[in-house]
Symmetry: C2
Subunit: 408 residues, 2 copies
C-alpha cells in the first residue's frame, strides 16, 4: 500500500501560498454537515457577514466561489462581459496578462495598456484610456506579485463611476496586508483568494459585488432548467456562457432562496470562515500595520546584506519584496539551498524577471518577526556560500532595528 | 467577536454529501507546501497514480480539477465541444438536465433523449439516437441521485467507439460504490467528486481523459500569453472558451512541464489523495460489495417497514434508495424530526419527485451496518409519530438478516 502523504517541514516565504494559520487547518477538520442544514446556511450567512468586513463593504452579495482565486476572476468577467463588449485592462505584470487572457476567452474585445514592470499607473493614464477605448468594464489587479507592485485604486473607482464604466479588481495578493476599501473606493466587483495574507489554503475565493454590477448580472439570469420554477423570470440579457461561474445562479444559491447549484465545498467554507475570523479579530488596520512592519524589516534586512530591491519601493505591496539576484550568484542554487538545507521557500520570478530577481514574501501567518529573521539569517548563509560580499549579521541587525523602532 | 463555527453532530444519510472519513479530514489538516516543491509535485504524481486505479484506467491524464464535481463536468464539455458541435445527452434524471444545461452554454447543439424517471436506457436506444443525431460527443450520467438509477455503460462505450463518437460520463454519485471500468468500457472522459462514495468533502473533482479525447483537447491548446515560451506551439482548433477549465492548460500544469496555471488547492489535494488511498486499501471490489450489502440491507429494512421503493430496483445504485413518502405522512415533518431529534439527515427530492419520495443514502464512510441500523431505528420512531402502520422492529430485523446471510 502507498504510504500517507506527510508534508515536509517548510516555511513558505515566497509570493504565496504561505503556511496556513493552524487555526484554519483545525477549522477545516470539522465534520461535514448537509448543504441545506439550518446550521450550514447559518454558517454561510456568517461567512458572508464576515467577508463584508474584510472587503470594507455593505454589499449584500459577498460570498465564496468554489475554486481558486483564478476561478473567481473568470466568474466575474464571464458574468459581466458579453461577447463583443470592450474591456480595458491596465496591466503592470503577469496577472494583468491573466485578466487579458480570461477576458478575451469571454469573447470580449480587450484593450490593454501597459506601464513598465516595477511601476504602476497614474490614474490619469487610466482616465485617458477610458476616454479613448470607451469600455464597459475596467479590469485591474490591485497587487501583482509578479512585480510586487501595488496599484493605488483610490481615484480609479470615481473615474470609472463618472464614465459609467464598471470596475473589476483582483485583490488576491494584496487583501489583508494592504488597505482595500471596496465601498469608499467605488469598486464594483472585487475577488480574492485565501492563500496570501488571509492565512488559508487556495481553493476558495471570496467575492463582493456592488449594486451596479448586480444589475448587469441579474439582467443575464437564466435559472437552470433542472431546477427552474414557474415563478422564475429570466433576464433579458444573453445567458452567461458558464454554468459553474454564473454569478446570478451562485447568488441564488447563497441568497434566501438557496436554489441548488454546486455542492458547497464545505471544508473550504469552514476554512474561509476561520480566515475571516482571524483577520477581523486582529483588526484590519492592525493586520495591515503588521504586514507593513514585517515587509519593511525584510526589505531593510535585504538592503543591509548588500542586495538591491526591485521596483519603485513607494508602490510596493507590504507583503512581498523583489530583490535582484546579485552578480555572480546563481539564483536557483540559493533557492535550492534555502529549501533543502534550511526548509525555507523563497520565490523565483516570471517571464522577463525569471533569473533576475527573487521574490520574498512575509504575509499572513508568516508576517512575523521570527519568520523574517530566520529567512534573513539563512539567506545570509546561502549568499556567503555563493561568495556574495556582505557584512555578516548586518541583515538581521537592520531588521531588528526596524522592529525596535516600531516598539518604541 | 463571532464565535468559531462548530459543526453540530450529524450523520448524513442523504444522497450526498455524507460524513467524510476522519482520515480524510486529518490528511487535510497537513500544513501547506510550495506549489513547485519537489514533494508537492511528487504528491501530485502519487495522486494521479492512485486515481488511475480508482478509475480502472491506464490513462496518463488522470488528475484533479480544483472545483466541485460540477466544475469538472464543465471542464470536460467546454474543452471537448466547440460552438456548433452536436452533443447527445441521454437523460434519465436531474443530472441529465445539468449536462444539457452545461453543454448548451458551451454553444453546442444539444439533442437530449429521455426515459421516464426511475428507469434507464437500453443501449439500443442510444445507438439509434447516435445514428439520427450524429453527435460529436455523447454525454451521460452513470448514477443519477435524483432518481437513484444507475445507467449500465458496458455496451455504450463500444457503440460510441464504433460510431466515432466521444463518450463523456459523469460518475460522481456512483464511483467507489458501483463498478466503473473506464478502459474496459471505452469511456473517453470520466469525472467525479469526492463527496459520495469516496468519503471526502466536495471541492476537488478527479478526472480521467483517454487518448481520443486528449487529441481533441490538444488540438485546441493555446498556452496563456503570460507564460507562453517560444517553443510552445498552439493547436489549430479554436481556443477553449474558459481559462480556468481549459483541460489542455491543466494537463500542462499536472504534466512534466508543470506550467503555471491555478494555485493548486493543496488541502483539497491532500484530501483527494487520502480518499483514493482509503479506497485502494480496501480494494475496489470490496468497497463495491460493501455498498451493495449496505444498500440491500437498507432497502429490505425500508420494505419491512411497510414502505414502497422508487424506481426499477434492478437498476438502482447500491448507495442510495428512493422510498415513497407513505399516504398520510408529511415528508418534511419526518425529515425535520430525523434531523433535529435524531441528528440524522435523509434527503428530499427534486422536481417531479419533490414531496413524493425521500432519498436515503448509505455510502462512503456511512456505508456501515451501524449507520443503516441507526437510520432504520430512528425512521421507525418518526413514522410511528406520523401514524404510519408498521410492525415495530421489523425494519431493523430485516436489515440484520441481510447482514447475517452475508456473514455466512
Amino acid at each position: 500500500m502507498t504510504s500517507p502523504f506527510l508534508p515536509p517541514p517548510r516555511m513558505l516565504m515566497g509570493p504565496g501560498p504561505i503556511d496556513a494559520d493552524p487555526r484554519v487547518l483545525r477549522a477545516m477538520s470539522g465534520q461535514l454537515i448537509g448543504q441545506f442544514d439550518p446550521q450550514m446556511t447559518a454558517c454561510m450567512d456568517q461567512t458572508m457577514a464576515l467577508y463584508r468586513q474584510v472587503f470594507c463593504t455593505a454589499n449584500q452579495w459577498t460570498f465564496l466561489i468554489d475554486s481558486t482565486s483564478r476561478g473567481a476572476i473568470e466568474a466575474s468577467l464571464v458574468s459581466l462581459l458579453e461577447p463583443g463588449d470592450t474591456v480595458l485592462v491596465p496591466s503592470f505584470g503577469r496577472f494583468g496578462h491573466l485578466l487579458t487572457e480570461i477576458a478575451s476567452r469571454c469573447g470580449a474585445e480587450v484593450e490593454a495598456i501597459h506601464v513598465p514592470w516595477g511601476s504602476v499607473f497614474d490614474p490619469q493614464q487610466i482616465a485617458d484610456a477610458i476616454r479613448t477605448v470607451r469600455p464597459k468594464v475596467v479590469a485591474i489587479v490591485q497587487g501583482d506579485t509578479s512585480t510586487t507592485m501595488l496599484q493605488p485604486l483610490e481615484d480609479i473607482g470615481k473615474i470609472c463611476r463618472d464614465a459609467g464604466v464598471l470596475l473589476y479588481c483582483d485583490a488576491t495578493a494584496s487583501i489583508g496586508g494592504n488597505p482595500l476599501h471596496t465601498d469608499e473606493w467605488q469598486l464594483d466587483v472585487v475577488t480574492v483568494g485565501l492563500q496570501k495574507c488571509l492565512c488559508g489554503p487556495s481553493g476558495s475565493a471570496p467575492i463582493t459585488i456592488g449594486e451596479r454590477a448586480v444589475e448587469v448580472i441579474e439582467a443575464r439570469r437564466h435559472v437552470e432548467a433542472g431546477i427552474r420554477a414557474e415563478y422564475h423570470v429570466n433576464g433579458q440579457g444573453p445567458r452567461i456562457a458558464s454554468n459553474y461561474f454564473d454569478l446570478a445562479m451562485i447568488m441564488d444559491y447563497w441568497g434566501p432562496e438557496r436554489l441548488n447549484h454546486h455542492t458547497e465545498a464545505t471544508s473550504m467554507l469552514y476554512g474561509s470562515l476561520e480566515c475571516a475570523r482571524i483577520l477581523i479579530e486582529e483588526g484590519l488596520d492592525a493586520a495591515i500595520s503588521r504586514h507593513a512592519l514585517n515587509g519593511q524589516a525584510l526589505a531593510e534586512g535585504l538592503l543591509a546584506m548588500n542586495l538591491k530591491l526591485y521596483g519603485t519601493q513607494a508602490n510596493r505591496m507590504h507583503n512581498v519584496v523583489g530583490v535582484y539576484i546579485p552578480e555572480g550568484v546563481t539564483g536557483d542554487a540559493v533557492r535550492h539551498s534555502m529549501l533543502h538545507d534550511y526548509g525555507i521557500e523563497i520565490g523565483t520570478a516570471f517571464g522577463p524577471l525569471d533569473g533576475v530577481i527573487w521574490r520574498i514574501g512575509t504575509m499572513g501567518y508568516n508576517a512575523r518577526p521570527d519568520a523574517v529573521l530566520k529567512t534573513l539569517a539563512c539567506l545570509e548563509q546561502c549568499l556567503l556560500s555563493e561568495k556574495h560580499a556582505l557584512t555578516s549579521g548586518a541583515g538581521a541587525a537592520a531588521a531588528k532595528s526596524i522592529y525596535a523602532s516600531a516598539a518604541q
